[in-house]
Symmetry: C2
Subunit: 233 residues, 2 copies
């Protein structure tokens, strides 16, 4: 999925991107286009295209007579899904998961409140279906199935909010949830309280109760943050 056949420059990015975001080339490091082209055994044109993409992500800056300089972390486009994926695959995955979870805790409650006002009947039905799916897979080592419904649930809420910026966080949430399931204890079933809360959120959205949908989602978020505190100091 990550290594789509976007051509040679894509392959270069799949190697260079993770290397830079992982801090392998610390901010201030200087790379030279020609040297990189030789190392990756591609032409200068291809390497230039790759550099342009990294530049548009604000990961590097290209200057004449100097080379390609890695920019400070604070300037990176950390909302770029590609950058998020690269960083989640790297060493500071825990820190990244925490940042994203805090973001979720801010956004999702408001999104749920808006969803309660704007969700269509179809979206309400899908939401309920997801919640029931979560209940059905909440016991007996069915974490993969649970994950699917969980991701779908949050994606629907974000979409139903009617806010474009919220909707585009669906992928981020999916990455966070997937990361949590795949890189932490797979032995225990999900927290029963969280399952119940999801069902209640679905009900609140269906009933059009914005305040209740928001505060219930806030409880889910608090739970997710607490879970992170327990598993990662």
């Amino acid at each position: 999925m990550s290594t789509r056949g976007r051509g040679l420059h894509g392959h270069v990015l799949d190697t260079l991107g993770p290397a830079i975001t992982a801090g392998e080339y610390p901010p201030g490091s200087v790379l030279r286009t020609d040297e990189l082209a030789q190392r990756f055994e591609v032409s200068r044109s291809v390497m230039r295209e790759a550099v342009r993409v990294l530049e548009s992500m604000h990961l590097v800056e290209s200057r004449r007579r100097v080379g390609v300089t890695v920019r400070p972390t604070a300037e990176w486009n950390v909302y770029d899904p590609q950058v998020i994926r690269w960083r989640l695959a790297g060493a500071d995955r825990p820190r990244q998961l925490r940042s994203l979870t805090v973001l979720r805790s801010a956004v999702e409650p408001v999104a749920a409140g808006l969803a309660a006002r704007h969700a269509t009947a179809e979206q309400c039905a899908e939401l309920t279906e997801c919640a029931l799916g979560m209940v059905a897979t909440s016991r007996g080592q069915q974490l993969e199935g649970y994950l699917v419904h969980d991701v779908a649930f949050h994606r629907i809420v974000l979409n139903a909010s009617g806010n474009e910026m919220f909707a585009r966080l669906g992928d981020v949430v999916a990455e966070v949830l997937t990361g949590r399931t795949h890189h932490q204890v797979m032995f225990e079933d999900p927290d029963p309280a969280a399952v119940t809360l999801h069902v209640q959120v679905a009900e609140a959205v269906r009933a059009g109760d914005a305040d209740r949908a928001e505060s219930l989602t806030r409880e889910i978020a608090v739970g997710a943050l607490r879970e992170l505190d327990v598993l990662a100091p």
Copy 2:
């Protein structure tokens, strides 16, 4: 500021980017690299680099034997600062301002709460300074000066939250505030209630009162949303 001298491909992007995000080429439209290169009077290499950048923003997709296809709006990287700037300069600026303001209303209260816990003494001082600056420029047609302090205030709060994702929204908030000041009624002085709230937020952060900082900031956000409702149906 927008037209940085990033070379020819930058100039192409400054024209093509706004055109695409403005819907001048609706999703599904097909462009051809060679034709574009001719129209912009640049070589294919330069045009290819520009297309690669647009591709990394998920604005277009390049396929063999087909051309460069404009992707559906729902797939765009709407958090890319460049895309945000392009869209804010375009026709659906009002819709965009609303989306971003709703995002602010979700994020900033949580950020303020975290800032109350993590802000350094220096950040607290800067925050108070900004709040005082806002008070000083709140009367007598000093909207430009007020804007500077307002932007700085929110930027400090987001930075002081200690969360990287929040911090990177500083530019977005700056764009929103600037847009509000420059494209709406410039005659009236800012709402006195909002000024007071900013001062109180600075106090709450300094006092380490997270709950108070959060709820006060939520009031600011509600005010901003109400202001939008009044000025844009």
